[in-house]
Symmetry: C2
Subunit: 403 residues, 2 copies
């Protein structure tokens, strides 16, 4: 193991949101970065980089990228419920002890027992109470999406760090046999898996879904949407490389997301976002959660960060429903996004007037909702408040585990 | 475009099952293979290979691999329902015309409208009528699985051709920026997408789920299962590279599968497979489908094909519920698999006696069930038989699209 060095840099801002965004982005700066802390206006980077000057340049470039005039970003909650107190303890160790979670790797977990039931109950409730109320039609989407389609949607210019590319063995007997032979002689017990032989893999043509809504735009490509507006809902695993070792359910690389997607005139789309927000707040309150709805922006990882983040804020494009983590940091469990014509324009989706339609999507990160409930109420369903326990019990009779 | 040549080879068997398996496997022989036909004991391979002799060697190797003494394989149905007549027509064009399917790429489709509802209804019914009756507990699994775990499970020695590997950009500012820059200057309208720059992608450490049940074995790794037996159910997208341009819903590269998984003593596991088979046959009959339950084997693509296929047959390990396609070929919509200790031994899962437990899994390919219903009854739900229409209408009131 190479010796570790520490790089120290003075921070130009100590705004908490700037710090959170910079610490997140720095995960992707260099594989040699081992640990990061920011205290008293100083950033400390523990690293194993052979070329410290090159590393410093990367870190400085990221610090600069995310430096937005603090006065341009709003932080006041749009809505708040409860005292927003930090939860008493992190339930993750209990989940592991009771085998309600199986950690397969960094950010990849299976939910079991009551936690799997809870995830399904949350999805069921969003579907029944929100999606159907808003007239969303059900769709079933692939788990992958073409590189060309994500490229068209502009995703590689906003969130390239998250992308997960798919390749397969060349369909050639020699390549497939070479792979099988190497694997036959391999040991699968190491922390780094055996290397797939050179030149057996194809260039990626598809990626894993980073989100659900892109598939909706593909169904409408080149079309004029119904003047009354288009509303659908789908659930999919979503995949984002997160550049760090992930623990707990608060951030996963492979997670379940229910989305509602709306396409139509700006007033229709904005009204649907507003109604979905109100219906989601109702559930949040009924289930005894505490937290806040806040203005937000995506973790853009490009030189265009500043322009895009300011635009999201100025146009009020992104709201997040957050709950406090045990360390006090906010965890977004749902997001309410108005895209203007960002996704409809590249796919030539027009409205009644022949101009590009607008779109919006609402996302429910199922594992994060599970975690929010577990942090607030614990993992023993006997202790849950009636507003949650009673509908959960009703659901369980029909759809849960037979005990 | 290079000129095409035709390679002709005499076939050593004209057994229909041998032909089906060989034609399937030859898709993976070489990217230069353009088309395949087998008539009157002769195989014709249309190809664009510069080295015809090398291609011939690959094709001959595959023809040899799959040559099993025909008398060793049983073909008689274990059960049959209806006349097993071929369906009147292929409903796929109607699905496209009515925009009930959106084709995103080869083998990657979105289901919409009544077809999405039908897929969800099928899953709901399997869950309520079969999984719960057999005491399966719900679990929620990742969409990806570690290379090490699939390697341990022996999958690379049986079905390497299907594997879909996941890579991400090196978490290094230089690699991520290089990727974004190339993509910014790219055109996404070609049939081949732009090339991801060299050396920006990592070696794959995870793959897409080729099936659901592996995640269950991971939850039990190193454990002794409950003497009463372990039963779970989960649904996941599954991904298999299929080496050819795929049309219709009959074979997809990215599909939805509900699985029931049983782990325990051989008698428990076999009884659960038998009960799941009976309950599935009930649904099949109620929904007015026609077809057969047949002994089967997996499309192993390795030199061990013969040994493995004969073993699956001799030990009665795999049954498939099939419906006839418009061309008369059988389409498997469910499979009923007894694994003996194939998956429990590598993950050290033991039974009450301390010896490796046995396992079984039952799979429901949701798009294939949808297709089976559409082939037999059409895509206008008004024309469906009462045994299907009536429970579908009940489901729709609570969970379907609000019309």
């Amino acid at each position: 193991m190479p010796a570790h060095d520490t790089l120290e840099l003075k921070l130009k801002s100590t705004n908490p949101r700037y710090l959170a965004q910079v610490l997140y982005a720095l995960r992707f700066a260099d594989t040699a970065v081992k640990d990061l802390t920011a205290t008293n206006g100083t950033l400390q980077v523990l690293h194993a980089a052979p070329d410290a000057a090159a590393l410093k340049q990367k870190v400085e470039s990221i610090l600069e990228r995310y430096l937005v005039d603090a006065s341009a970003l709003r932080y006041e909650p749009l809505w708040q419920h409860g005292e927003n107190t930090t939860p008493p303890h992190d339930p993750f160790d209990d989940m592991l002890m009771q085998q309600l979670v199986n950690v397969e790797g960094s950010g990849r977990v299976a939910l079991r027992g009551v936690l799997a039931e809870l995830a399904e109950f949350i999805d069921f409730t969003v579907l029944r109470r929100i999606a159907r109320t808003l007239g969303c039609r059900r769709e079933v989407y692939p788990g992958t999406i073409a590189l060309n389609d994500l490229g068209n949607a502009g995703v590689f210019q906003s969130l390239p760090q998250h992308m997960q590319f798919v390749a397969h063995l060349r369909h050639d007997l020699a390549a497939i046999d070479a792979f099988s032979k190497v694997m036959k002689e391999s040991d699968f017990s190491g922390s780094a898996p055996p290397t797939v032989p050179d030149a057996t893999l194809t260039q990626p043509e598809v990626l894993l879904n980073p989100a659900v809504c892109y598939h909706c735009y593909l169904t409408l490509r080149g079309q004029r949407v119904n003047p009354a507006g288009h509303a659908v809902t789908a659930r999919s695993r979503c995949h984002r490389f997160e550049g760090a070792s992930l623990k707990s359910l608060s951030r996963l690389a492979d997670f379940d997301m229910r989305e509602l997607v709306f396409v139509g005139s700006p007033p229709f789309v904005k009204e649907m976002r507003a109604r979905a927000t109100e219906l989601t707040k109702e559930l949040f309150v009924e289930w005894g959660l505490e937290g806040a709805l806040v203005p937000a922006n995506d973790p853009f990882f490009t030189e265009e960060y500043r322009a895009k983040a300011l635009m999201q804020q100025a146009q009020d494009l992104k709201h997040e429903l957050t709950v406090p983590l045990p360390d006090g940091a906010p965890l977004a469990i749902s997001s309410f996004n108005y895209h203007m014509t960002h996704f409809t324009a590249p796919f030539d989706i027009t409205g009644a007037n022949g101009r590009p339609a607008a779109s919006a999507c609402i996302g429910y990160g199922l594992e994060r909702w599970v975690y929010a409930i577990a942090m607030r109420h614990g993992i023993d369903e006997g202790q849950w408040p009636t507003g949650l326990k009673s509908p959960f019990d009703d659901w369980r009779k029909d759809f849960g585990n037979v005990i």
